[in-house]
Symmetry: none
Subunit: 209 residues, 4 copies
């Protein structure tokens, strides 16, 4: 939407996923709609965002929304699906870049903080906080994708624990970290003094001493 400095490897990742049909091209009308929806759903909440709000945000008529998506819930679903797909891919490539377990955990934390507070922040917040707005079938669909994502975390934490870097229960630790990181969407200000890197290092000390 804005001309921001997006790292070239991110642009490459998006292009690859668009080419695979796994995410919607953000330059198409449908992609722009998804971006605006993420923002509105995050700020106002899914239920309080009307289809008219969405349409107004992208400059079309409300009826035209349904040319792109069968229903309002389909928008939410697409949003959630694509944000997990993207961040899972991103995390996978980041994990590949290091062998050191501690570095790997730090990378996961960086990645998730970036996901929550960076480019995909709106969609990630929606994923975390609008879960109940999906019907059971759609929840199941997303759950499959989340499980893949979570397994990356659990495997990495287990590796660190084997090496004695972690004493806590891995499962509980992951849940605590998830809550801690997700919640940052409500208070972290990217324009403030603190960098995400500082945040990541603080978070690492929660997990690893």
């Amino acid at each position: 939407m804005n001309v921001v400095d997006v790292a070239p490897e991110i642009l490459k990742l998006v292009d690859d996923l668009v080419a695979d049909g796994r995410v919607t091209d953000p330059r198409t009308p449908k992609g722009r709609l998804l971006a605006k929806a993420a923002k509105l759903f995050r700020v106002k909440g899914y239920e309080r965002t009307t289809v008219r709000d969405l349409a107004a945000a992208v400059g079309i008529q409300s009826g035209s929304i349904f040319h792109h998506f069968k229903s309002k819930e389909e928008i939410l679903l697409a949003l959630m699906r694509e944000v997990i797909v993207f961040n899972t891919s991103r995390m996978q490539s980041m994990l590949a870049s290091s062998d050191n377990p501690k570095e790997k955990v730090l990378n996961l934390i960086r990645c998730e903080l970036e996901a929550i507070n960076g480019l995909t922040g709106n969609a990630m917040s929606v994923l975390v906080y609008e879960w109940r707005s999906l019907n059971k079938d759609n929840q199941k669909q997303i759950l499959v994708l989340r499980d893949i994502y979570e397994q990356l975390w659990l495997d990495t934490l287990a590796e660190a624990k084997e090496q004695g870097m972690i004493v806590a229960d891995v499962f509980v630790l992951r849940r605590y970290l998830m809550g801690a990181i997700s919640w940052s969407t409500t208070w972290y200000d990217p324009k403030g003094d603190m960098t995400l890197e500082t945040m990541a290092r603080e978070a690492l000390t929660l997990a690893i001493k």
Copy 2:
């Protein structure tokens, strides 16, 4: 709702607050309505819970709700106000019981985990996740109460930091802890193997080494 084993000091606290007019007596129709509302708002979400749902849950007609509360949002507001008032009081009395900073932090954690996953769990979840459903004025009202609550945390953490028990930034740490503990509402199962005490000790290791 059910006859559960509630610690006598809790009952006493409720009675005191009821006497002060700071919380609604849970044995009155209005109190029962608040309890049911907390449950429904948490499970279905505030927006997706209709006034009819609420009325059906307490066995009255939807119109009768408005003899107790001026509007649906008033119910949400009362819920949030009372759950903070109650848990702030509770935390204050717990803090008074110890001088050891580490013990104090542990007590805060215990208290908040208990608040989120125990008797006031429904209302606490609603407080955390339905924030955007309040209008600006009501948000301001609740914010005043939350600030009092949060100050108890910040003061205690600052004390522990002074004594070298904490290296992290106190503000960031508190936010991380808040997210971690709040999020447990989505995964902690009181009927499972893990006790809240175990959870509390795990959480303590996030903060203090």
Copy 3:
């Protein structure tokens, strides 16, 4: 709606069915809504009649319709259910009044002509011509009731055939008669010269020589 001369035995029948909960009291708001719906659905067609039309016809707001019926289709369903129940009851009592097969057939014809062109004319037309507007489940429900009604016809025609009064195939004859009689809704004018009794006798000659 209007003060018409309704035969006392009809009023009695309605009262009995109302008392059993099998038909809606036409004097209640819900009953008046059904009557207006029958008229509108017949004249404009079910699909072309909007809920707003219905509401305007009974002098309420469109939203209030849903206080009485869960959906627009529920109105159609109730209409169809009640008109069959009523006319089946009526036919049963008429059949009981004669032993002569020819007289019985004539009575069935009178009854159906009366149903189509008399008091229940609107609802009967809707029953016959708006069938496809019901979903499969609702069609099944009505089919059960229609089968009971049709069996009265088939049994009576079979009796007349046994006595040599009919040569045609009973099944085909019934279908032809049904079409002939139903279609009269499109052309018979109760205010014109021809009486329903004349119509009935003409119809009898189609069946019995």
Copy 4:
């Protein structure tokens, strides 16, 4: 649509009418659209059939429909106009083939049963049951054509009555026959045991003893 055995005189009739511009050539895209529309309008009803349904059925995009017809209602109108024109022509040539009034009536019945249950069955059903979907002007237009068609019936029945073959009122008889024959679209199964010829002879006994 399929390669069915169509009598050569029917093909000839169609060709003549196409040459006159009175009916659309069924081999053209427009003609195929009309055929599909007839089917869909009959099965789902005119109102419940969307322009998208029509387009999908003929394998084009919904916008392209409007290159062939100015509006959806124009399709309905063309359908009705052409099916009457065709069946009127057919009836006229059939009437010419006999001098015997009884034979003539039988031929009319055969012709109408064939029209309702044979090749033009879909369009005929639509003509009979979707009447209210035309606006007043279009109704008037079709009415002119129907009157020509009906006059063939009335003249023939009047002739038979003069010869003492019919006792009933000719007008009422025609209406009854029309209803009886039209209704057969709802129950007659061309793949079942009964032939249309059997049906026609049964129908003849309704009219003539």
